[in-house]
Symmetry: C6
Subunit: 247 residues, 6 copies
């Protein structure tokens, strides 16, 4: 396996040590990364912590919550990670923009006919991102969009449009996807895993008497990455990703 092949200036550190290690330094700037996992895997928390860690380093960020009120998302984050209570300052100082209701409203208002203009959703997202000049964006979750627009051909077209829009805006992005099964061996890759630049999957493998959390970087365009499964824990102080060192 090759070493780091993007200069560190070309990457967005996730702020999570073990995760940066298996990413060989971070996410290549501008990449669009799908984060998939089952319920309880911590998809939303992981993405929020990356936002939080980057905002603390001074990078403007945005979190677009399509299914949840923004203050609920913030509250869940604070309850899960008491050590990150300074997140409120980051929000009030606009380093983190929390949004989504106005985007979700665009979806809710429309009928579920095929002719609904996905363009409104995209421009609504763009407004959020431009509001603080965010460099790193989370969209939580793509599964909502998938369900709202029935036909798979339509969904794929919208994903291509979303990808193209995010690239034009120049942001690095994390897009969550809900997985119906949580075991490594049962993974089925739908179109979004091919369209976007990167794929991180959070597995919950069934062991003798409990679930075990494992994270895998399946794909990361423009960079090499670890091919191993990395165990992780969700602690009061955020994510701990255990990477086995590789040459």
């Amino acid at each position: 396996m090759a070493g780091d092949n993007a200069a560190s200036g070309d990457r967005l550190s996730t702020g999570i040590e073990g995760l940066d290690t298996i990413l060989f330094g971070g996410i290549p700037l501008g990449n669009q990364v799908v984060v998939g996992g089952g319920p309880g895997a911590g998809k939303t928390l992981l993405c929020f912590e990356i936002i939080y860690q980057n905002a603390k380093m001074g990078i403007p960020c945005a979190f677009i919550a399509l299914e949840e009120q923004e203050k609920v998302v913030l509250n869940n984050f604070k309850r899960a990670f008491p050590a990150f209570s300074d997140v409120d300052e980051l929000v009030s100082s606009n380093k983190i923009v929390l949004a989504g209701e106005e985007v979700a409203a665009k979806i809710q208002v429309g009928s579920d006919s095929e002719s609904y203009s996905f363009g409104n959703v995209l421009s609504s997202m763009e407004n959020v991102i431009r509001s603080n000049g965010a460099k790193c964006v989370v969209i939580d979750s793509l599964s909502l969009i998938k369900l709202m627009f029935g036909k798979s051909t339509v969904y794929r077209r919208y994903m291509l449009a979303l990808s193209s829009n995010l690239r034009r805006l120049g942001v690095t992005s994390l897009l969550t996807v809900e997985l119906p099964r949580t075991n490594r061996g049962d993974m089925v890759f739908s179109p979004e895993f091919f369209i976007f630049d990167g794929t991180i999957v959070m597995y919950q493998n069934l062991e003798e008497d409990k679930r075990a959390f494992n994270l895998e970087v399946v794909k990361m365009r423009g960079s090499n990455h670890s091919l191993s499964f990395a165990p992780y824990e969700i602690t009061n102080k955020g994510f701990k990703v255990f990477s086995i060192s590789e040459a």
Copy 2:
């Protein structure tokens, strides 16, 4: 794994010792928890016992039975748990409101066309909850709603509306879901497991010559929880959940 990160005043005790243990103290107040299981797993009984135990501690509760006459639900509970015969007093003193027929009627009356107003169902539920100022609510079961409204996009939208409504009312809630398969390895997570705050699954694993009951907290927003599978029994005196102590 982190310790308890919600103050105990922020939680609803389930009144079931072992279950509180694996929940690291109880369900965070205001959380909406999906309880999934196959036939015979005891979903309805578990939710009713939580209602019963809380009502005994003076907390007003509501049980919305969509598929069963209210008096039948009460009767089944008393027959299953003779030790809890004082449940009648809790019902007559309005600490527990048992309802559902008027909600189910709203569904039965409507045609099964897509345009049926789910709003009637929601306001009907709200009336029940307001009738005794319930703080803890059971809805048994979501699967009925799923089957009544054919399209999955519609079902998800209704679940988002239900979630938003329950949050506005400020109640802690338990929502049962029927699972077609009972084994851990066969679990498939549908949208409700992502939309709501928590997921508890009751498995019946096939062993050599019988079924074995196991319970798992898959997800609980705003709190850590045990990652282990906890065996349980249904006794004359209610549920016994066996938790392995964790640091």
Copy 3:
């Protein structure tokens, strides 16, 4: 596991010793029990023997055969169990009402459009039950109704109506369901297993060089029951269910 928690006066003995044992005394009166199994498992014979044994004890019973002429059902029973030849007297003395043709005719006459009135089927069943004041009723099989009415939402609604009707009539009932697979591990639970009060599954597990019959009480509202699989045989003198004694 708790002991018997319904007084014996509250139960219907199945008249089959081993089955009563694993039911901890019998079926709680008024319960509606789904009996599922593959071809050759003996669903119809088991239900008929329960009818026969109860009729001999003086309890009026009814057998509603939706797919088979009544005299054919009777004949199959007599050929399978020569020791029960006195069944003819029970039929002629009206202790057992054998019916179904007029119910099935109601289904056959109707078109297979969604608007067909399931009400005719229900009132036709009610006439049969009232004809001898039956306390225990078999409906063989629900699968016919499932196939006749295409949409699963419609089927579930009809099952809820059937359940509500049987409860109003106050009868204890057994409802057979055809299972496409016969192995324990392949079991998938459809809505009827959740709607009705009890579930008994008759498995045919593949062993080295033959099938082995096993019976399981998966669910029984208002009562505890054995969690073990009970081997059974179909002999000239009726069913033999082998229960392992439990405390």
Copy 4:
């Protein structure tokens, strides 16, 4: 397992020694038996040999070939079993009526719309059976009818009508069904296995370096039967079924 419980005068011998043994004497007279198997299992040959053996004993028989010209079926039989060359005499003396073309024509002529009258098919079959007063009838195969009539509710209704018709005619019948998979563990039972009186399945289990033929009597109304799998071979002199003796 109980012994033979139908008097031998009440049974149709299959004329195949081992098969009669596991059937505890033969097929109860008037029973309708589904014979399922994958390609190459020998369904058609087995049914034809039963016809042949019975015709030799003087019993008039009929073979209704829906997919194949009658002379082709006869030719295949003679080529597979050179020892049974006297089958020609049985055909010319009308002990065996070979038919099907006029029945199949009834199907081909009709459009594939749902309203096609299945009644024509039934009366056409009846004419064949009445032509030589056949007591034993083969219909090869039900799968053709299944495919011709799309909807499963329609197919089941036609199968009920076919069953009722055969019963009225008083014949013992064998009805072949094509199985898409040939292994014991993969068996899925469709409606015909529940509607008709008996089920014999011919498996081809995959072993290390070849297929092994096994036959199982899954169901036989009005009689007990062996529960074991019986290996079989197709030889120049007909079927050899190896039964393990049972008490």
Copy 5:
């Protein structure tokens, strides 16, 4: 297992020694044999070599290529088997007729509506066969026809018509079918495997570090055949089928 029961004059030798061995001498004259396999199994090459070997023995043959230009098929054959370069003479002397474009054109020209006349396809095939009085015919592949005509009831009807047509012409035929999976255990048999007289499946079993080729004669009307799996190789000099000798 019985010995050869068709006189050798009644069979078409495949010209491939090991294959003739497991066919107990060859394919019974006039049989229609389905040859199924995954990509790379060599279905087309095997059928073409049988044509080639027979043409060399003076038997006129036809190869109807529905998906490929005729000269491409010929070229692929010559590139795969340099040792068979004399195939050109067989083609130019009309011992082998290579066709298909005019048949495929008939399909392409028609719309994909259900009313498209499959009769044109059949008469087009007949013209090819009559052009050199072919005794052995390959149709490559049935899967194209299956996909072109959507409904499975229609496909089956066309297959019955094709079978009947080939029988009327008196030819021995090989019909290729594409299999989506290549492992023995995953085999699912669709209608064509039941309609036609014979079935040969070419498996590619996954072994430790490569695929292994195995061939099986699943069915062959009018003849016994080996029940073993026969390993095979594709060499410069054609197919090598390794048969284990049987008594």
Copy 6:
């Protein structure tokens, strides 16, 4: 296994040593090869490296990117393989034509009705190929086309048209296909694997604690090839395919 049976002048070297070895020299000129794999397998990079290596040897090539802007594809390639930075010269000297936007535009512009003219897509591709007289062409990916045109019968017809067009142009081509599962045992072969001349699959097998990359040549018309699975790595200096030498 036979040796190389196409003269080396008849082959396109892939420029990747190990891959040429298992291809027994390279891809037969004019062949159309499907390259399938899951996300992160490196399908696009492998195809681009083959283009790059051939362009360096002076052979004009084209890369048609249907889902990605051309400059993004180029950028990803340079970031993945810093050692191949001279790719820019090959592009500016027109040895490599990077295109796709105008082709994709043809798809996007059209409605998703069945009547959309796929011919525009084909002629658009032809224009790209003719622009530099490309001898080797990559189309990335067929899955986009599959999703854009709903019905499988239509997709297959378009694939036949694409194949015929590429053959007329005389180019050697690589066509990527997205696979939803990445394990060898889960492979399901859809029509494109049968229509085109060659199939290379890039697997990611799950091992104890990581994914392992393996490549297999499943099919290659007009040539023999290795039947083994070849491990591979993606390094800074391109692909390394590890072939086990065969006689």
